[in-house]
């Protein structure tokens, strides 16, 4: 056992002293992860965040609703696009807009009148950007508050409104006489106040107004609406909804590049030992042939585990949140075992470093292409999806995604993990047999 460890440590040391090899194992997957993350998630900072793109649907089509839209548009943080209900929903669903606002019918009748039933504004928000939606709600309330201020400034409109409200009060039999007296008294005071303001305005010829504070009054009723379609959880779209971060997809994908590089690196190192003659020294040393091979396998296994750990660590820093760490550990163990087997077979693909390198990477590229390390399997055409089941990379990514965002149960993990272990065991058996025969 001690000699196996001595072998493994030597191989890890040699692997990481090869600067180009180390780059392909660690550096390249990081670049791939970040690149694919950016491609899939889009930028999450800068100008995109500075202006929130909002779709607005004006079902009221009143002067007040138009005024509200104009005030909201004046806010430098919002970019408004007026549209109809369905296109608005679709744009939020597709992630083109952060949210949609619907100004319901009757919005203009009561907006900004704090004693009336508040107008309803429906909001549909992209679930992945809930933090920004809170900011949007604040801006909506601010605009409604400004509307109330303008209402108070428009005295003739206010007087008409009070008159209309008095008539409604007279006709409403459900209100008790005590409350009726109280409300009438309020309306009288309000009429007096508007007349006084009118007189002052005439004297001062001052038409400016100040916004009314909204503290203590409900200026608008914000009602959430569901922008999503009813999605089958088992469908691709349903699966996609489980993704919490753009790194959830790109990191398993890019981790596999590191794993592939490890397998190729160790396969090449076995070929190099053969051509350099150091394999001969190992074969005539007082250790069994299987110890030599186990040493290689252990080193490859550890380097794969190291790559996965490193990539998960980096993913965590960037915001990836694995659903289950034990499942992730299980996936990592199975991926490592699988690619140890593949490495063993790969090392027999040629007699020289060059031939093993060429053949190894050719196989790696095909496995990566069909396995989803370049384009996620879910985005592939059907025929490629069918072929992908032949690629160990697909099962590796699936096992890691199962742990990270697919919320796989242990029984669901059994399929990818079982396949990975099966490939690993078969690869180790075939590779060992070929190396021994040689």
């Amino acid at each position: 056992m001690n000699q196996v460890l001595v072998m493994a440590i030597k191989d890890l040391r040699l692997l990481f002293r090869d600067k180009l090899g180390a780059f392909f194992i660690i550096g390249f997957p990081i670049l791939m992860g970040i690149f694919f993350g950016m491609v899939m998630g889009g930028p999450s900072s800068g100008s995109d965040r500075a202006k929130m793109k909002i779709a607005i649907v004006d079902l009221d089509q009143s002067t007040l609703s138009a005024k509200f839209i104009s005030q909201l548009a004046d806010n430098g943080s919002i970019e408004l696009i007026e549209t109809d209900l369905e296109p608005a929903k679709e744009s939020v669903r597709k992630g083109q807009r952060l949210a949609m606002l619907v100004l319901t019918e009757g919005f203009g009748e009561t907006a900004g009148i704090f004693w009336e039933k508040p107008p309803t504004i429906q909001i549909g928000v992209d679930p992945s950007r809930s933090a920004e939606s809170a900011m949007l709600q604040g801006m909506i309330l601010e605009s409604i508050g400004q509307l109330a201020g303008q209402r108070m400034g428009d005295l003739s409109s206010m007087q008409d409104m009070v008159k209309k409200s008095r008539e409604q009060l007279a006709n409403d039999k459900s209100i008790s006489s005590g409350n009726r007296l109280l409300i009438n008294s309020f309306f009288s005071s309000l009429e007096g106040m508007t007349q006084s303001i009118e007189a002052l305005q005439t004297d001062a010829d001052d038409s400016s107004s100040s916004p009314v504070e909204n503290g203590g009054f409900e200026f608008a009723k914000l009602e959430s609406i569901d922008v999503s379609r009813k999605i089958d959880p088992a469908s691709q779209a349903g699966q996609m909804k489980k993704i919490k971060s753009k790194w959830d997809i790109s990191f398993p994908q890019s981790t596999m590049w590191g794993v592939l590089a490890c397998a190729a690196g160790f396969a090449i190192s076995i070929a190099r030992e053969r051509t350099q003659g150091t394999m001969m020294r190992l074969q005539i040393a007082p250790i069994s042939q299987s110890s030599v091979l186990i040493g290689k396998a252990v080193a490859c296994f550890f380097s794969v585990m190291l790559v996965i750990s490193f990539m998960v660590g980096l993913g965590l820093l960037l915001g990836m949140r694995p659903g289950s760490y034990p499942m992730l550990a299980l996936a990592a163990l199975c991926v490592a075992s699988c690619f140890v087997g593949i490495m063993m077979v790969m090392s027999n693909l040629g007699k020289t470093e060059e031939s093993v390198n060429g053949a190894g990477w050719a196989i790696n590229m095909v496995m990566a292409m069909f396995g989803g390390a370049m384009i996620p399997v879910m985005f592939m055409p059907q025929f490629m999806k069918s072929l992908s089941i032949l690629s160990p990379v697909k099962w590796g990514i699936l096992a890691m995604e199962g742990a990270i965002w697919r919320e796989f149960s242990l029984s669901e993990m059994m399929l990818p993990c079982g396949i990975l272990l099966g490939i690993g065991i078969a690869g180790i058996a075939i590779g060992t047999s070929l190396l021994n025969r040689e």
Binding site: K10, Q276, M280, R281, I284, A285
Partner: protein, 305 residues
């Protein structure tokens, strides 16, 4: 097995139609340096591979060790391998590991650790004269330094038998001389060495006994002097005479004033000629060597391959 520490008997190994080793038998005596001398393709490296158990013979047997070695037996046995130290013809060292790391790694494979390992690593670095480059990657070494490290690695576990397969191939004269001195030092320490080479000068200088092999067959095995005596033929005397002698029968052919003749007793023959008044302006006596032995045995020169 007597005093021999390794024995091969009726060894045969073929690769397809080619008989690489064809009925070879010999024994290596404890403490001797035995040379395997033959041209490229004679089967020397195959013999080494059979001796260390890398190849299995088609027929015949290999036995390593003697009654003084607890691990004696077939070289394919893991324990028996501890008795062998091998410096293969191809440089078998890790180029991206330092000299010290190479020695440390192989020492650990042979079960060394702690102070014993440190002492052996230091001894080997001294032996290879690489102390000042101990921490440099082997890939940065000159060809001679790599060869020395290659031999040092074979010595890390103090083997009972050191197998050196063409250790001076591709080495500059200075490094070659250093390797000779190192091997002579090992001989003085009583180490048993099997030395394969196609350079007869090396075999003559370093080996107690020489086995001449060609096409996988053992042609002769004895001490250098015995081989020369048996198969080397006569010495060759060449010289320029001061003047052409009259009435004296010369032993060889005369071209102008130059004389050339073969003799088994060259000094006596030259002395007899001088006594008869033959004066030599120049004189050269070429003793037969292993090249002549090989020529006699095979009809070809060693360098013809």
């Amino acid at each position: 097995m007597g005093n021999s520490i390794a024995e091969v008997s009726a060894l045969k190994k073929s690769f397809g139609d080619i008989d690489a080793v064809n009925g070879l038998s010999f024994a290596i005596q404890q403490g001797e340096t035995l040379g395997l001398l033959g041209p490229n393709g004679a089967g020397k490296t195959t013999v080494i591979s059979l001796l260390v158990g890398l190849l299995k013979p088609d027929t015949g047997s290999v036995s390593i060790g003697n009654s003084s070695c607890a691990e004696a037996g077939d070289p394919t046995l893991t324990a028996t391998r501890r008795l062998l130290g091998v410096a293969p013809q191809a440089l078998s060292i890790y180029e991206t590991m330092s000299a010290q790391e190479n020695l440390d790694f192989f020492g650990r494979l042979y079960g060394l650790s702690g102070k014993k390992l440190r002492d052996r690593v230091n001894w080997c670095l001294d032996f290879a004269q690489l102390q000042d480059r101990a921490k440099s990657y082997a890939g940065t070494f000159s060809g001679g330094m790599k060869r020395r490290l290659n031999i040092a690695v074979a010595l890390i576990h103090e083997p009972a038998i050191l197998l050196l397969d063409e250790p001076t191939v591709g080495v500059d004269p200075q490094s070659r001389n250093h390797i000779f001195e190192s091997i002579e030092a090992l001989r003085e320490r009583g180490m048993t060495i099997l030395y394969t080479t196609h350079y007869m000068e090396e075999a003559e200088r370093l080996c107690d006994r020489v086995a001449i092999v060609d096409h996988g067959k053992l042609l002769a095995l004895s001490s250098v002097n015995d081989l020369i005596e048996q198969y080397g033929g006569a010495s060759m005397v060449t010289g320029d005479l001061a003047e052409l002698p009259k009435e004296i029968e010369l032993p060889g052919e005369l071209t102008g004033k130059s004389i050339r003749f073969a003799s088994n007793t060259p000094l006596q023959d030259v002395a007899a000629l001088s006594a008869q008044g033959v004066a030599f302006q120049t004189l050269n006596i070429a003793r037969p060597n292993l090249e002549n032995v090989f020529l006699t045995l095979t009809g070809r020169s060693l360098r013809d391959g």
